[in-house]
Symmetry: D2
Subunit: 287 residues, 4 copies
């Protein structure tokens, strides 16, 4: 099992009378992700309005903040007990057998215009065996074509832009992979959280965007940007794409500082806590 | 009250071994839309898989059809008892007070790129009183700029395309209006159904796309293309936009024929059934 | 040598008081394309304003037509004496040595957004030997990815759209190939004319769009849609892309009929006139 | 008359073995813009290849530079004797009477997709008197809708993007205005040079992009971003849009520093040299 200690600090300067925020910075409640302990500090006297999405386990916090600086510090201890499966046992699920909640994720969305990619996806991947290995082939194809480049994309960049320009950050890798999966009728969704194990040379620890694909009977993790260790990801939220999955949606004019994030794994083999490692098994946080 | 008799016939020729369909052609179950009687005929020996979305009342039917012709006939008798409100009593709802289920509809989606329209929306509508009249101003603005033109748009056409090219059909009018509402943080969703009262010169009765906007404490109907009588709309489904709200999503190669639709209102004042009329009150089918 | 007999009939119904047209339907005057005889009939008493572009040899005809039907019939006898070269002798030309008139064709244009394709082009073709064979590799790449599909594109479709959706007609094939060449700093331009030798099953003889690429010391013909025999193409015009190279630019509201085109090669070996054939040599109509 | 003293310094660090540049940083030779004296210094032992475009008077300099730093300093003394006209005397020119060289500028280009804006342009400006005042109305419309914002656009931003997002820099203002003019069949082209008289609070003196529109019998200057004094613009080049009109096109990997530009007007009324001022006359540098 994996035990992680997370701390997360956000700082904004609010430049208008009132400013609404919707945060998704609490570790999600899922069958395999358990929040042992958590604490939230806000330096303004606001009353957070918390709500959870029963379908996804996403936990949202809405606040209305006052002008001036606002600081949020979230700390948590999280246990992860992934469902692990040999990839070769994971088939794609025919449309006729997909659960209703997975069907929502075969349609195109703001940044994942899968409707326009059907011919491309079929030409590249249509001949492959329909299962986890096909999804891995998609992930590999994206990784070979897109170069990780800070500043090479912006908030409007969509999967089609990234396919054409071939540069981006983790969210762009995720959008291309999701769009290609959906173009083949494979349910795929956008996941956000905190990465683990990325090369410190790439910058300080940061929020991460990755992909979950429905195979067999649940959602499995894929990390198309490939820079971190999926077994250590703390999941905050899932959604259609970056449009509805931001860690912070801000309704007003603010100056934002870079988040300060620290995520550490407990290394305590005697108690069966080991550090995340790259593994060949498919991982799911759904169970 | 309004009582409608609907009949609907769909015909496809399936050109491959098996073909999955997801239909959304059953009248939705909502607080104000009651299905008194309904019947579905399919000329192939298939077993429809029915499921309803608890949040929206949408009713989906999945089937796997055989090669060759398939015909579906749906008939229903539907009562509508709209919630009606004087528009001037309907305020917009601040972000901090929106119910969680409405928040899903402030984000951009495949065809409604509200994220790119914030400056435009604020310049055009930012100074207006925040309530039903502002939403009506948006509807009027769209109606003045977009010209109804069959064949002037296609399945890839988005709100931005329509804003630029200024032609489209009912779905394009809806996408522009939704995108502008969301750019102002007003929840707006795509609704599909059958129109009522359109000028027969515009063609045979057809599926319709329109808009629902969250004001006060529920979703209200807007019809930006403005060619029909909203009080007579039968609602099939609601969604983010046309991407997840098609009356038929087809997973295969088929030839499609035009749908044959008939919708009639019972005119029986003695029993308090009247025909739909254009009214100045705001209409909701939620209650 | 090749001798072609061309006849071309255009019919429009003009729906407004006056309507300007700019036609480019006269065979261009180039060093290797000689117009032996030509005749133009117009059924309205208009005075065409003819002008030629000295850089390209394009011949334009401007007329202002009256309401009602207008018919144009152009007939010509044309000799083609291509400059032919073994492809392996044709290098790309370094930027520093390109003639000024070729530099115009390394920049992006309306339908050929080469600026966005630099990484893609370099990844796919950057490692290849820089000469005719690299341009052929681009042509082959386009042909493998794009499927000829009438109605799969429209007047707004750009190279990027075609790269994503992978369907199109001859103009779309040409746009993709041009964009990829320019992304590698290889001058490429759009050419229009009449095709020769296309399979009659694809429809009646029609206008054609193809590509000219600057290699060695002149422009060579490429036909990315690959359905016809380049040696038999009659060239009307060249330009940046379809935006400035239409056979007819119409400034008003008209109904257009399909053009009626006939192009035949004289088969008279005794006098050294042979019919066009597919050859492996590179062909230029510039000399 | 206006006499300007210009100095211009460019600095790059070349990161590869050889790097080609095409510069357009010499003051154009036009009928009303006379270069009295000029000097170019380059700190590398390269031999510039100079050529002029006879149609536009643009002067290009091609060089192949060596690895390491390269510095260019251009100084010039320039006399401007504008052709000035009362705007009300300047009509638009019917298609049938436009000179051939102006026709090139009614077609859509990379960043000015006028083909998609015809309905919008006709709805907004179709009812206005056809002359200089209509073009001024277009300029005013653009100025009201677009907000000057450094960093709000990038090298891919087109007129359609700017119409939607409503932010940009001088090149974006120019693209929108050009696209709207062309959508009404008014020839419009992109002009580059050095601005004059901009508020120093907006930053140091810089390259500028503006618009020339063909009215009456020549090209007249418009400055849609409206931050400077058109009478003091030194013109370097004109083209279809930013795609073919950069002051520097760079074929390689370099680090660029900000240009250092100084432009001063001689104030010597005794000799009839006055400083540029905002005037209501239409200005042309063509004669």
């Amino acid at each position: 099992m994996i035990r992680l200690k997370l701390s997360l600090e956000l700082n904004y300067e609010i430049l208008q009378p009132n400013c609404d925020f919707i945060f998704n910075i609490h570790a999600a409640h899922t069958r395999s992700q358990t929040v042992l302990q958590e604490n939230l500090f806000i330096n303004q006297p606001v009353t957070p309005n918390m709500y959870s999405d029963p379908l996804t386990g996403n936990r949202y916090m809405r606040i209305t903040a006052f002008p001036g600086p606002i600081k949020l510090i979230y700390t948590a201890t999280i246990d992860l007990a992934h469902h692990m499966m040999p990839p070769q046992l994971l088939p794609e699920v025919p449309i006729a057998q997909l659960p209703a909640m997975a069907l929502n994720y075969i349609y195109p969305s703001r940044y994942c215009q899968s409707d326009r990619l059907q011919k491309l996806a079929r030409r590249e991947f249509g001949h492959l065996w329909q299962g986890h290995s096909r999804v891995q082939a998609i992930q590999e194809w994206v990784r070979q074509r897109v170069t990780f480049t800070s500043g090479g994309s912006n908030a409007s960049t969509s999967a089609i832009d990234t396919l054409i320009e071939q540069v981006g950050v983790c969210r762009d890798f995720a959008h291309v992979m999701i769009a290609l999966c959906r173009a083949l009728n494979i349910p795929a969704r956008f996941a956000t959280g905190v990465d683990y194990g990325a090369d410190p040379a790439l910058g300080p620890q940061d929020f991460h965007a990755y992909v979950e694909v429905y195979l067999g009977d649940r959602w499995y993790i894929f990390d198309p940007s490939g820079l971190a260790i999926p077994m250590g990801f703390v999941r905050f939220g899932t959604g259609h794409d970056a449009a509805d999955s931001a860690f912070a949606t801000i309704f007003g004019t603010v100056n934002s500082q870079s988040p300060i994030i620290n995520l550490e794994a407990i290394n305590d083999p005697a108690n069966n806590y080991f550090v995340p490692y790259r593994c060949s098994d498919a991982l799911s946080t759904d169970a």
